[in-house]
Every structure is written in C-alpha cells, then in structure tokens.
C-alpha cells in the first residue's frame, strides 16, 4: 500500500465490544486502515488531526501497561484529548459501582471510552449506559478484540494471508479473552484453529467454537504456521490448575524442541507480558521466528484504526 492512498473505511457501529458479530469485510477494512497507520507511525511526523476536539477516556479497572499506553498513544496521535483512569486512583476503590462510574463519566461528554474490566460482560453492560462509543480493551475471560486484530495484522503482514493458515493457540484457554477473540477472528478469516493445553485449562465445550483440541504440544503444533502462546497467571500455577511451573514448562512451555514440531517457517506470538521460563523459553521469545515485538508495534496501529473507523461513524463526524 502506498502512503498517499487513504482508506475511507467506516466501522458502521457505535461500539467495538468484541470480534463476535464483526463481518469478514469489517475485519479486513480495519486491517487495511491499520496498515496506513503502521506507515505513519514509522515517520517522524506521526500526528493526524482526525480526532481533534474529541475526548477519549481510558477506563481501566484492571491494571495494564501495554494496552493502556497503546490506546493512549493511538488516541494522541490522532489528535484526541486522552484521559486515563485506573482502578487504583478512581472512586471504584471507594465502592462506586460500575454503573455509577459510567453515568458519571457520561456526563462529561466523552466521545470514546476505552474500557478494561475483570468481569466478563462488564464492558457491554457499561456501553448500555453511555451515549458515546465504547471500545472493549478486555473484559474478563470474554473478549479482547483489539488484541485479536493486532495479532491478525501481524500474521497478515508476515504470511501475506490468514486464510488457510493453521494457528495453534497454547496454554490457559479457560481464562483467556485473547484466546476467545482470536478463535472467533481466525475462524471468520478462514484459518484453521487449534487450541492446546492441559485439560484443566481448556473450557468444556470449547470444541463447539470451531476449534480442534490437542492435549500435547507435539499433536497441537503439527503443521502449525503460527504458534500463539498465552500467559499463565501466577495464581493458577501451583497446584490449582497445574501442579507446578516446572511441570507446566516441561509439557507446554515453548522451547526450541517443541517449536520444531511446527512448520519450519512457523512464527511465534505472545500477547504479553511473558513469563519467561514458564510458558515460553527466552531463546524462542527473542529468536528469529518471534513476532512478539512486532505485535506491540501493530498494537498502536490497530488501535488507531479502530479509533479512526469508529469516530468516522460518530455524530458530527
């Protein structure tokens, strides 16, 4: 794509609450628009004015460094006024409910609220109470749509396509919103999706979401074009879902030996933050097949695309 060419893609909906419900054309439209921002972000002058005058609130009920800063940068590069609110500083600490927070913020006339919350469905609940656009930055174990979009952009740029690829998503599927959003997106775009992990971390009924299920890395990674590792939360490591981190690493941690089960040109991804030596070995994480740093770069571009495409649909746009 040449830098001068401009996508005029509009996301004709008020909110982005999940990948579920997006069409193939909408996903492609967002990825095409994001490509433009990848170019822009690599230039010295990174600023656009398309969100000038708009107010974006990042409302994070759960701590996040990477996603919150990515959304902040994305909003600022498009010219929006960006305000960050996190659980540690907000009145949520004082017992204000999610709904009251929504009503309070809504009275300040924001144009876009970016929300992360620890409970599945919380972002959708909040979206029903506000008049502006809402972007889901992760709700419980439900969805994390911009993560799936940035993963898709990363894959598409490196493999030239998504259709027909085999993608293995490995680790804690049960608690992962990243896994759910990716499963829906990759299925929608024609990839073959496999989930791999110990059975305690695979939700019963997951096979009905259109994925193959593997319980060991050899079967799970066979013929994989993409190996997507998930973070294992510390509280799930010792005896509750898996016996220990060393046993987990032995069977499911991605090292060079296990990566060799995949296709020779397979690429490795991780949504971060990584537990090195638990779900992924440093040599693989930093190796030639790793796309992990590129994912972070794509994160900003994809979030700019989402903000831009939603704002084009805002009133008075």
């Amino acid at each position: 794509m040449t830098t001068g060419q401009k996508s005029s893609f509009v996301l004709s909906r008020r909110h982005l609450l999940g990948i579920e419900g997006l069409s193939r054309d909408e996903i492609s439209g967002l990825l095409d628009l994001a490509e433009e921002f990848v170019e822009l972000n690599r230039q010295i002058e990174k600023k656009r004015a398309s969100l000038r005058g708009r107010t974006q609130i990042n409302l994070f009920f759960e701590v996040s460094t990477r996603t919150q800063s990515s959304f902040e940068l994305a909003g600022k590069r498009l010219g929006a006024d960006v305000m960050n609110m996190s659980a540690s500083s907000s009145s949520m600490r004082k017992g204000e409910t999610l709904m009251d927070t929504a009503i309070t913020l809504n009275a300040m006339h924001p144009d876009i609220i970016v929300v992360r919350h620890h409970a599945s469905g919380a972002v959708e609940l909040l979206a029903r109470k506000v008049d502006c656009s809402v972007i889901n930055a992760g709700d419980g174990a439900h969805e994390h749509p911009t993560q799936a979009l940035l993963d898709a952009l990363t894959i598409r740029r490196n493999k030239g396509r998504i259709d027909g690829l085999t993608v293995a998503i490995c680790g804690d599927i049960l608690h992962s919103r990243v896994a759910r959003s990716n499963i829906i997106l990759l299925n929608c775009m024609g990839a073959r999706v496999r989930v791999v992990g110990p059975s305690t971390l695979l939700p019963p009924g997951i096979e009905r979401m259109g994925v193959e299920v593997a319980r060991d890395m050899r079967a799970g990674l066979a013929d994989a074009d993409i190996v997507m590792m998930l973070r294992l939360q510390r509280e799930r490591m010792n005896g509750s879902y898996v016996p220990s981190t060393s046993e987990y690493f032995h069977y499911f941690g991605l090292d060079e030996r296990k990566l060799a089960y995949a296709r020779p040109d397979a690429l490795v991804m991780h949504p971060g933050p990584m537990n090195r030596g638990v779900e992924i070995d440093s040599i693989v994480a930093d190796g030639a097949q790793s796309l992990i740093r590129e994912q972070v770069e794509m994160g900003v571009a994809v979030r700019m695309a989402v903000l831009e495409a939603l704002s084009r649909n805002l009133p008075n746009a």
């Binding site: 409910t97 959708e124 009924g205």
Partner: protein, 434 residues
C-alpha cells in the same frame, strides 16, 4: 380489586380440575363457610343456599389454589426486597394460595420464636396462607442440628438450609435420622460447593463462549446421590429442593424404584428456560442451580409429567436492581416467580409438553400432601383455596405491573397465554380481574 364478603359462592359452569381425585369435568363449585361444599356436575343455581353469589365461569378453569413450596420472602431481615404482604399480593395475582417461605433470612429461621414471628407477621399482613420452613442446621452453618421437634411443633412445615448444602455427610445423616422420629421432611439443596466454586452458569459451550466459569451438573448429582444413600441408611423423609439435569433424574428414579421415601421439586424457571436464554449476560437469568441445556429442560418437563418429579415451585427470589445491575459473575442469583409460575407453566400446556392435570398436581396437590397441609384439593370439606383461570387470554409481562417489590423477572416482556382472573382463599375472593 373487590373483596367479597362471606356469602356462599357458586362458581358455575367451569371446567373443574381436581388433581387429588383425577377429576376433569364441567360443573359447579359451591363454597360456604370457608370450605368447599361440593365440586361436581350440575349443582346449579337452584340447589344453593339463599344469598349465594353466583359467578359465571363458562369457559374458564377452576382448580385448587397453588402451594408454592419454595419462595424467599424477606422477613425477617430483608423487607426491602420482599415483605410477607408484598409476597402474598404477588402470590394472589399468580394463583398461589399458600406460600412456603424459606429460612435463609436474617436472622435465620432456626428457633421456635422466629417461626412464631413469621406466622404472626403473616397472619397480620399476608392475604394468602404462609408457612415457614425452618433450618436444618443452626445459622445454616452445616454443623449443629436445629430443634427439629420444637420447630415443627411451632409450625415449621419442613427443614432446609435454603440454597446451602449440608456438606458434612455425618451432619446430614444425623438430621435425617433425628427428623424421622418427628416425621419431619428434610428438603435439601444439592450442590457440592467445591465443584461449584466460582462457576456462575451451566458448564459447556455457552459458558465457554461468554467467558464465564461453568458449574457442571455433576455438582448437583453427586450431592443428590450421596443424600439418597443416606436416606437408604436412615429411612428418613427426603425432598430434593431443585433438580435440574438428566443425571439427577436418573438417580432419583432409581431411589424411588428402590422404595425410598424420596421426592423432588423442579423450579418453573428450569422447566421453561435454558442456558441460551442468558444471551448477552442477562443477570435476571442467573440462577442457583444454573439454567441447564435444552435437552435437560425437556427431560425435566417429562419428569414432571410422569410424576417422577413431584413438585413444581417458583423459587421466588426477589433481588434489588443494584445487586442485579452488575457484571454477570458479580450479580446476585435468583428470579421472582410467584406471580408468573402458573402462566409460565401454561406455556408448557399450550405447547403440548405437559397435560394440565399433571401440571396442576405438581403445583398444588403434591406439595400439600408432602407438607401435610389441607389445601391442594377440591374435595368436600377442603379449605376453599382455589383459583379461576382464563386459559386463553393473551398478555405481555410488564415488570412494572408485577406485585413483588422487586422486578427481577426472567419473563420480562414475555408473551403469555392464560391468566388467573380470581383467587379465593378460605372462601374469600382476595384477587380478581374484572
């Protein structure tokens, strides 16, 4: 609403269904002095005492008033959610003439004085009959047994720890053994709390899609299976408070075939709704036990039709807006149901899933029998607790028009066919749609 005086009443030309006698006829019901005098063909206006109020019921159904075996009422301690007065208004509008209220109140109904408190409050404020269940264990803690003998003498009709399970098998064994000496019924919520853990809906595809932790149906069946072994050991009278899944029904069937004194309830919610109805995190459909798969629902309806499941109850559980307007996992569980139980059940009748006789038996006759209450029948001399139902009138549930103090109905804006048009308690019309 007009309250009639104590004149005799003749309900004329009605379709009369009395499950206690397998009676389904067109005829008349004569009520006088608070009791059913007769319910039969052709009493006619001629054969009634002077001054009798004759109510034409052509095309309508007359049946025993419903006995709701499981309803949470907020007295004592949660009157903002529901009072005996508001619950009884909701009951009257739904055709329920007897409410069995639950002991998981604050304080817990675990001593005779509290039973007495509820009965006196009900006498002064409720327009339908109210009988409390008392706790099996003190403070519902699953440890020390309550004074089952004294509580029963004070008026507790059965013993339950509400939505808590007695996890200690020894405690349950002793309670069943001791209760047997007083012919007291133990009603038990069967869910293994360790298996439920942080689960908030039925385990399976839909929980996986919504990113919610699931509750396996085995959590229910395992506890039920344990209980039934203990019933075999002790010979106590046992009632499963709410069965929801195919596996539990299989276990129940085996216990009944073995001749154990075992009965069970199903909630109207589990008979008419399934896990898919949760849709986009609708917290009004967050229930304990959780709504199951459609296949389970169908089997459960069949079990009520066959009598394997004895009782249908509302599981009425009023919750404030503030405890429901939260993310699904954090929201309170429970739904109101006193006012919609019968009409929701009529959906199953209209769709041909169950016969009217079987449904009404599970809603009135069987619970009255199990709790040794005089209602649930239209036999001569029975208390005149009965309902008149228009089986066909269409209407839409408007939560704002329901009589409960809370609005958490899972049938919000649902289309219903059939409605209670008159409710009579002890010979007096307490609810009427003109």
């Amino acid at each position: 609403m007009m309250l009639s005086d104590r004149r005799p009443i003749l309900l004329a030309n009605a379709r009369i269904i009395d499950p206690s006698r397998d009676l389904d006829i067109v005829g008349d019901v004569l009520i006088a002095d608070g009791v059913v005098r007769e319910a039969k063909r052709g009493i006619g206006a001629a054969g009634v005492p002077e001054g009798t109020e004759v109510i034409e019921c052509r095309g309508k159904l007359v049946a025993p008033g419903l006995v709701d075996m499981r309803a949470f009422v907020g007295e004592p301690g949660a009157a903002s959610r529901e009072t005996l007065a508001s619950a009884s208004q909701a009951a009257a509008a739904g055709g329920v003439t007897t409410i069995i209220c639950q002991p998981d109140t604050s304080p817990v109904i675990d001593d005779p004085a509290t039973v007495d408190f509820v009965l006196r409050r009900a006498r002064d404020n409720a327009i339908v009959h109210v009988h409390p269940m008392a706790a099996i264990t003190k403070r519902l803690e699953g440890g020390e047994m309550t004074e089952i003998g004294l509580l029963k003498a004070a008026g507790a009709v059965a013993f339950t720890d509400g939505v808590k399970s007695v996890t200690n098998a020894q405690v349950m064994r002793r309670a069943l053994t001791y209760a047997r000496d007083f012919d007291a019924l133990i009603v038990h919520h069967t869910e293994d709390p360790a298996l439920v853990a942080d689960g908030v809906m039925n385990e399976g595809e839909f929980a996986a899609r919504l990113g919610l932790l699931g509750v396996p149906s085995a959590a229910e069946t395992i506890m039920l299976e344990r209980d039934l072994r203990l019933v075999g050991l002790t010979g106590g009278r046992y009632h499963a408070a709410s069965v929801t899944c195919t596996e539990s029904l299989e276990v129940l069937r085996r216990a009944k075939e073995a001749g154990l004194e075992v009965t069970a309830s199903a909630s109207i919610n589990h008979l008419t709704l399934n896990e898919n109805d949760i849709g986009p995190y609708r917290t009004f459909l967050k229930l304990v036990p959780p709504l199951r798969a459609e296949a389970d629902r169908k089997v459960l309806v069949d079990a009520v039709a066959s009598g394997l499941v004895d009782v249908v109850m509302s599981d009425h559980n009023p919750q404030d807006v503030e405890t429901k307007r939260l993310p699904f996992a954090e929201a309170a569980a429970g739904a109101i149901g006193l006012e919609t139980m019968l009409v929701a059940g009529l959906r199953l009748v209209h769709s041909g899933e169950i016969g009217l006789m079987a449904l009404l038996r599970a809603l009135s006759t069987r619970p009255a029998e199990l709790l040794d209450l005089p209602g649930g029948t239209l036999k001569s001399g029975a208390p005149a607790d009965l309902i008149v139902v228009d089986m066909d009138v269409p209407w839409i549930v408007d939560p704002n028009e329901l009589k409960s103090k809370c609005r958490n109905t899972p049938y919000d804006e649902a289309r219903m066919q059939g409605r209670v048009v008159r409710t009579i308690v002890a010979g007096r019309t307490i609810y009427e749609i003109v």
